[in-house]
């Protein structure tokens, strides 16, 4: 039989990602060239890094002996600011993003409203929280209020977009059925759309709560209050045991927020 010959031939594995020979070689060599160039621009001051090792060791030491007590007042104040900021901004952000999300869903809103709402979402999503915080600190002055406004603003882009995408993907028959009974726009939204997206909306709000806490821990670096400000001061003072105490607290809080929000989300959905 002639098939026997075919078996004895060696099998070669086909390239997995890019089939075309030319493009594979071009992309790989381009990537290599870029890597060489990029690594070439790295100016590492080994002397400085060597001196830094000692600081790194001190930092690690600080991690083993975190100091919660000597700057307890500042840590407590920063933490309280972060938590309250997170709660208020998530709530306000959610309340504002629900109407914007409704407006940005093409299947339930007219084109002009849709365009305006999508524009608001795009503006809010374009920049990092830190950059928004810089602007709001310049407007509202230093402190937690600027952070609150920043996080609320950032929440709008995140939540309104996901909510709008969700509404666009609903089962249209249910909304159609409500419309078929003679329900107006409000009734369609209330009885046809809302029951379908509500579990997702609650889940997303909890997820955003979690994100807002993480962000509240860094926007303090540009002056928007919260635990980030305390951390920044501790680092500036080379007070590593306080800094590591703050970091440990942040990790614990983030994990708590993540697990509890994940638990509630599972329970709701």
């Amino acid at each position: 039989m002639s098939e026997v010959q075919a078996v004895s031939r060696r099998w070669r594995r086909p390239p997995i990602l890019i089939r075309n020979d030319f493009w594979r070689r071009a992309i790989y060599s381009g990537a290599l060239l870029y890597l060489l160039l990029a690594i070439g621009t790295l100016e590492v001051d080994w002397q400085r890094a060597y001196e830094g090792l000692e600081r790194g060791a001190r930092f690690l030491q600080g991690f083993l002996t975190p100091d919660f007590t000597s700057r307890f007042d500042q840590i407590q104040q920063g933490m309280v600011e972060s938590v309250t900021m997170t709660v208020c901004s998530t709530m306000v952000g959610v309340l504002i993003s629900v109407p914007i999300g409704l407006g940005a869903a093409r299947n339930i809103s007219p084109l002009p409203v849709y365009l305006v709402c999508r524009a608001i979402i795009a503006v809010s999503r374009a920049f990092q929280e830190i950059i928004i915080a810089i602007l709001f600190v310049a407007m509202f002055g230093f402190g937690a209020f600027a952070g609150f406004v920043t996080l609320s603003f950032a929440t709008i882009g995140f939540l309104a977009k996901l909510l709008a995408d969700d509404i666009e993907e609903i089962d249209p028959r249910q909304a159609e059925a409500v419309r078929g009974t003679g329900g107006g726009w409000w009734q369609v939204v209330n009885y046809g759309v809302q029951p379908q997206v509500m579990p997702r909306l609650i889940g997303l709000s909890l997820y955003r709560f979690d994100i807002n806490f993480r962000e509240s821990a860094v926007i303090g670096i540009v002056g928007a209050g919260g635990i980030g400000a305390t951390l920044n001061t501790a680092m500036d003072r080379y007070d590593y045991s306080t800094a590591s105490a703050i970091l440990i607290l942040i990790i614990i809080f983030v994990m708590l927020a993540e697990y509890s929000s994940g638990y509630i989300r599972k329970w709701i959905q």
């Binding site: 594995r13 997995i16 990602l17 870029y34 890597l35 990029a38 690594i39 621009t41 790295l42 100016e43 590492v44 001051d45 400085r48 890094a49 001196e51 830094g52 090792l53 600081r55 790194g56 930092f59 600011e81 938590v83 309250t84 900021m85 709660v87 208020c88 709530m91 374009a126 920049f127 990092q128 830190i130 950059i131 810089i134 602007l135 310049a138 407007m139 509202f140 002055g141 402190g143 937690a144 209020f145 609150f148 009885y191 993480r214 962000e215 821990a217 860094v218 670096i221 540009v222 980030g228 951390l231 920044n232 680092m235 080379y238 970091l247 942040i250 990790i251 983030v254 994990m255 993540e258």
Partner: protein, 271 residues
């Protein structure tokens, strides 16, 4: 859906009475939490500044406009640094994340008792600290510069890439793995021929997605001294040169949009 018998016949209601009460209770608790948090948060707020905000904003925009476009020529070097921070950081992060993901996935981990919890801890720890905080630490240790930025991005990326990759590994088609095992392949060969081809498209998608996020994050790392365009932003902010800040924002926006475009193109072609 609850239906009530009334004198006029059956009536439909949206919720049961208990559900209704729970609903109101939930809203009441949320409102109370808001009021309490608001009180605590605004203790130190200077309302004078808040009232003044619209005029401050107007003042800010009048100083930020028109943008000083000539300044853009001094930014190209910083932009190149920013892109390098994001790319090299993603690369290092991915290299560290791959073994972590294989240790964390239920079907590939060599030990469920020790290594899997350890890998999961690495993933959670990396995700819970923002890259800006990583950068703050690394600048203190390594000194200012783009190396600190690269490592910060790398450490931050491990959790993200590791988590998504290990979920992809857990979702593979086991029959292909069994087929490779049936040929008598070793453990490494099973991974190489049975698992890697299945997760590779997802892996490439995750990497490009993370690269896109890292471009955004690396634009601000300079605020704490970790190199890139954030350094220029910091110095412009310190000298209150708002017309330069506008230029930097525009450049950051353009870069972010570009990276988003690249990443969505690549992901569309792969998956």
């Amino acid at each position: 859906m609850p239906v009530w018998q009334t004198e006029q016949g059956p009536a439909w209601r949206h919720r049961t009475t208990t559900a209704q009460w729970l609903h109101w209770l939930g809203w009441l608790l949320a409102a109370m939490a808001f009021v309490v948090c608001w009180q605590i948060m605004t203790v130190d707020t200077k309302w004078f500044f808040v009232k003044d905000a619209p005029s401050q904003a107007a003042d800010l925009f009048s100083r930020a406009w028109p943008p000083k476009w000539s300044y853009v020529n001094t930014l190209w070097g910083a932009l190149w640094d920013t892109i390098n921070i994001a790319t090299l950081g993603t690369l290092i992060g991915v290299m560290l994340a791959v073994p972590v993901a294989f240790l964390a996935a239920r079907n590939t981990t060599p030990s469920h008792l020790v290594l899997r919890p350890f890998a999961l801890f690495v993933i959670v720890a990396s995700r819970s600290i923002n890259s800006l905080i990583w950068a703050l630490l690394l600048v203190a240790i390594l000194g200012p510069g783009i190396l600190a930025g690269i490592i910060a991005i790398a450490l931050r990326s491990i959790g993200f890439v590791g988590k998504l990759l290990y979920e992809a590994i857990e979702e593979i088609d086991e029959s292909q793995v069994e087929a490779v095992q049936a040929t008598g392949a070793s453990r490494a060969q099973v991974i190489d021929y049975g698992i890697v081809p299945q997760v590779l498209p997802a892996f490439a998608g995750i990497c490009v997605f993370r690269w896109d996020i890292n471009i955004r994050e690396s634009t601000i790392l300079g605020l704490v001294g970790a190199g890139g365009i954030g350094l220029q932003l910091q110095s412009s902010l310190n000298t209150l040169a708002w017309s330069q800040v506008t230029v930097i924002f525009a450049l950051i926006l353009a870069t972010v949009i570009f990276s988003e475009w690249v990443s969505s193109r690549v992901r569309k072609n792969i998956i």
